[in-house]
């Protein structure tokens, strides 16, 4: 993999990641460019999730490193953040005019609804494609419950359910 490809792939993810980059990142990496399989990407994302910092950003470091070492990690990270940063700063510069335009609010509401459905769809897709054993599905549902209904802080959920998931997964691997 060339550095240019890593940079451009991640630049696409950053630029097109409306409402969070997780969905478009998976689409580009697994479906469009086929850098990683569904399972490989899920494993990288899983690690990225339990480490501090944005999970897609952590995954960019790990994927960049896997393909091209330090240069790869830097290229992927720069690709992910550079363009959105420029857009965001220009938006912030004339936010007052932009935010109060009566045409913008309904469009943003439609996009927000689509983005929400997109994130749910991605979770369903990963869940069904990865076909995890039943006890790991249970862990996933517990994470959903703890995050969406109990609204527990994320570090609490990760530190509580992460070790449980690892233990259950290792137990099944040992039995097999």
């Amino acid at each position: 993999m060339r550095l240019r490809e890593l940079f451009l792939g991640y630049a696409k993810i950053g630029l097109l990641g409306f409402g969070g980059v997780a969905v478009i990142a998976r689409h580009v990496i697994v479906e469009e460019r086929r850098w990683l399989s569904e399972r490989d990407y899920a494993e990288v994302l899983g690690l990225g999730q339990v480490l501090p910092g944005p999970n897609v950003g952590n995954a960019a470091i790990m994927i960049g490193r896997r393909f091209r070492g330090l240069a790869g990690a830097l290229a992927a990270t720069a690709g992910l953040y550079a363009a959105p940063l420029c857009i965001l700063v220009s938006l912030a510069a004339f936010y007052d005019a932009f935010g109060q335009d009566p045409h913008v609010a309904p469009v943003m509401r439609g996009i927000a609804a689509a983005a929400a459905g997109m994130v749910i769809g991605m979770a369903l897709k990963m869940g069904t494609k990865l076909k995890p054993p039943v006890e790991l599905i249970g862990v996933g549902l517990l994470a959903l419950l703890a995050g969406a209904w109990l609204r527990l802080p994320l570090p609490v959920i990760v530190l509580g359910l992460g070790p449980l998931g690892i233990w259950l997964s290792l137990r099944r691997a040992r039995a097999a």
Partner: protein
């Protein structure tokens, strides 16, 4: 000003298990209450702006840095937010590369996947609750979830469709 700014965001970076949204309360406490660098309303607006703009939501830190201290603030906040977490991710990636031959690495890593997927689903549900006021948003949410789940087309199609439907009907 620049150095305290860097340290504030570097601390947040290492607390941000689960990403930007996880440290939102702590970010608010540090920037608004402890340091008094911005008021409540500005904090809320900048965070909403970062959510609406393309790119990782963690870039909220960058615009806040910009708002507090201009270009130098932007650089300090962005580096502070990205550097510690990235170095940690780099080291962990090295560790997994070294353990690649170990038979328990893959199963152990796979054990974290349901936590990640469950939390992604949870953030989707929370976003849906916020966006789902009225029947049309719920139709968009359901259609968008089905589209992304059942097809391999770019998710941008549903965002575009959602924007158009919002413009016409909302």
């Amino acid at each position: 000003m620049i150095l305290p700014l860097f340290w504030a965001f570097a601390t947040l970076s290492l607390l941000a298990i689960g990403g930007a949204n996880a440290v939102l309360p702590e970010m608010h406490r540090l920037l608004v209450e402890v340091h008094g660098w911005m008021d409540d309303a500005t904090f809320g607006q900048l965070f909403a702006l970062a959510q609406a703009a393309p790119g990782p939501n963690i870039l909220a830190a960058s615009v806040m840095g910009w708002n507090i201290a201009g270009p130098a603030g932007l650089a300090a906040a962005t580096l502070g937010m990205l550097l510690p977490a990235s170095v940690l991710a780099w080291c962990v990636a090295g560790l997994t590369a070294r353990l690649a031959k170990s038979p328990w690495l893959k199963p152990a890593q796979f054990g974290l996947v349901p936590v990640a997927v469950g939390l992604i689903a949870a953030s989707g549900v929370i976003m849906a609750e916020a966006a789902g006021n009225g029947w049309l948003p719920w139709v968009v949410i359901a259609a968008s979830a089905a589209f992304v789940w059942r097809t391999a087309f770019s998710p941008l199609w549903v965002l575009a469709a959602g924007g158009v439907l919002g413009f016409v009907f909302l």
